[in-house]
């Protein structure tokens, strides 16, 4: 690794200075590039190849072309599973987008003024983001558990018996409840990002608006919000990428099958069951089909990210 040795050694002496410098840079980049290629970029692209094969266990060897994709979209069994997981993932993402980011914007707006205890509140709002998703998921399953019913006890005490429900046991409730648990954990991220954006807005501008008699509501919508648009874009795309890839929270709160009755099954849990764990009743992973699901997720992510890049560039040049 030592550059000086290479430069002084005779074997590199035949290189002219320019090539020698190029060699130096290549050596600086090589370790990072090797690890990144072997363990990230390579596997990602090889998954595309894998999706064209079929076979049991860890070595799908039989080339079947696009058969896995054709199965995924035309075989009613697969199509139903995939569409269900895709719809659930969209709902999961939409709840984050709406609730998490709106709350984040509200908190950031409150935290951007100067008052006592500001840092204290910021620290608390962000705290759950440092916990493991798994721990958060398990903790909330206990708290929401109707047998113990920490949450339900509170509703009872407030005389709101009708809200003491089996939160994770009903098909129409489980997904929103799990999404909100995840919002509880991650709301600190948009809060801090919006806060950084708001701090960048000049005080004179806001002061001038106040002197002109603008209400805080007007100031928010007419000045702060338009200036925050680039940050909102970044927050939106991060929310998209993170949530289209969510797995741990579902695994912890609803199991790998997305219970009850697959109502919380996401693309990542479907991918896990199909390609890695193996689906009941066979219990043998179908790597080719798993790779096809991963590739579809990849395509969805790329479509989202690239259109975001396109629109944010376009907006920046306007």
């Amino acid at each position: 690794m030592s550059q000086t040795m290479l430069n002084k050694s005779g074997s590199a002496g035949f290189l002219n200075p320019k090539n020698r410098l190029t060699l130096t840079w290549v050596l600086f980049l090589l370790p990072a590039l090797l690890v990144y290629l072997t363990f990230m970029a390579g596997p990602l692209f090889d998954s595309l190849r894998l999706s064209l094969y079929t076979g049991e266990g860890y070595n799908p060897t039989e080339f079947v072309g696009f058969q896995n994709y054709i199965n995924l979209f035309t075989n009613p069994l697969w199509r139903e599973k995939f569409i269900n997981a895709f719809t659930n993932t969209c709902i999961f993402f939409a709840i984050h987008m709406l609730v998490q980011n709106t709350l984040g914007l509200l908190f950031a707006n409150l935290l951007s003024t100067d008052f006592k205890g500001r840092n204290f509140f910021r620290t608390i709002i962000f705290a759950p983001a440092t916990l493991s998703v798994l721990v958060v998921g398990f903790l909330w399953t206990l708290i929401l558990n109707p047998q113990w019913g920490a949450v339900n006890k509170i509703f009872m005490a407030m005389d709101l018996k009708q809200f003491a429900l089996p939160w994770l046991g009903r098909e129409n409730l489980a997904l929103p409840v799990i999404s909100l648990t995840s919002v509880w954990q991650w709301v600190g991220m948009p809060t801090v990002m919006f806060l950084a954006g708001l701090m960048g807005i000049s005080d004179e501008l806001l002061e001038a608006a106040r002197i002109d008699g603008a209400s805080e509501w007007d100031i928010f919508w007419r000045i702060k919000f338009p200036l925050l648009k680039p940050v909102i874009g970044v927050v939106a795309i991060l929310t998209f990428v993170d949530n289209f890839n969510a797995f741990d929270i579902i695994y912890a709160m609803a199991g790998a099958k997305g219970e009850p009755g697959y109502s919380t099954d996401l693309l990542a849990t479907l991918f896990y069951r199909t390609g890695i764990a193996g689906e009941h009743p066979v219990g043998i992973p179908d790597m080719g089909m798993g790779a096809a699901i991963a590739t579809m997720t990849f395509a969805i992510l790329m479509t989202g990210v690239l259109s975001w890049l396109y629109f944010s560039r376009k907006q920046a040049t306007e």
Binding site: L21, W25, T38, M40, L142, A268, I276
Partner: protein
């Protein structure tokens, strides 16, 4: 003036309500892990009448939590060291090498910020098997290092680009090689940016559950996250133990967070702040 008072009042009310919503589950977790089962059900929110460490003792002894902690620390420390070392070397070249190759590689590296490595899991499983690393915690290290490259190159390249160029020129006129400039000048200056990268990756690696779940079965190789998921399943009916297990997993990060909140927040949002 009046309006401002009202606004301040609103601010406190909203933030206090949310703080209670955040702290209540954490309080419930910690306080009940010291109570016997009966009291957990009878009085979920009060302080323990009879203080017990049974849950922790059980988790520590039968669950081998000591082992899980050591494994996770080994994996986290080695992976972080490698990410910082090879990441900062690459970032130095990406920032200083004036060539289309460098610009291309920069985009190639940071593209990884938007593409989750999990989608390549199936191939990684095969690769880990081929390397004969399955069922060991060593299998996690190269994957985490690769996973850390996008954020490391992104944050560190931006940082080096902002350092004054004269500094490098002066050193080179004095006859220093690129390696010497990197190791003696850039590396020490990069400390704040390195801390950001380190914290970002530390939280991700420490809390990662996916790769241990996929790569590891053997008891002696388990990480904290994997141990928690297996023990939690086992203890589902024994709430004292279940809560003790969760506390054991949560408390180290919470303590670090309380001590270093500012750095944690900066670290976790590093990927976005400059994007």
């Amino acid at each position: 003036m009046r309006w401002n008072r009202l606004q301040l009042f609103f601010t406190y009310v909203v933030l206090t309500i949310w703080s209670v919503i955040v702290l209540f589950p954490i309080w419930t977790l910690l306080i009940n892990s010291f109570k016997p089962q009966k009291q957990i059900f009878k009085d979920p929110f009060g302080l323990p009448d009879t203080f017990t460490l049974d849950g922790y003792r059980e988790a520590w002894n039968t669950g081998r939590f000591d082992l899980y902690f050591i494994n996770t620390i080994i994996v986290t420390v080695i992976a972080l060291g490698l990410i910082l070392f090879i990441g900062s070397m690459a970032a130095y070249a990406l920032a200083k090498w004036k060539s289309p190759v460098a610009s291309f590689l920069y985009v190639f590296f940071i593209a990884g910020l938007m593409i989750p490595i999990r989608l390549g899991t199936l191939d990684l499983v095969r690769l880990i098997k081929a390397l004969n690393l399955q069922d060991t915690y060593w299998s996690l290290i190269p994957v985490y290092v690769a996973m850390g490259m996008p954020i490391a190159t992104f944050v560190l390249t931006a940082f080096i680009k902002e350092l004054p160029g004269e500094m490098f020129e002066a050193a080179k006129i004095d006859g220093a090689s690129e390696w010497q400039v990197y190791s003696r000048i850039v590396l020490p200056l990069m400390r704040p940016a390195m801390a950001t990268v380190a914290i970002f990756n530390m939280i991700k690696i420490w809390n990662d559950f996916w790769f241990p779940l996929v790569f590891i079965r053997a008891e002696e190789s388990r990480t904290v996250a994997l141990g928690v998921s297996l023990l939690f399943g086992q203890y589902r009916t024994d709430w004292t133990r279940a809560l003790a297990v969760l506390s054991l997993a949560a408390v180290p990060m919470l303590i670090l967070y309380v001590l270093l909140a500012r750095e944690f927040i900066k670290g976790l949002t590093a990927g976005a702040v400059k994007g």
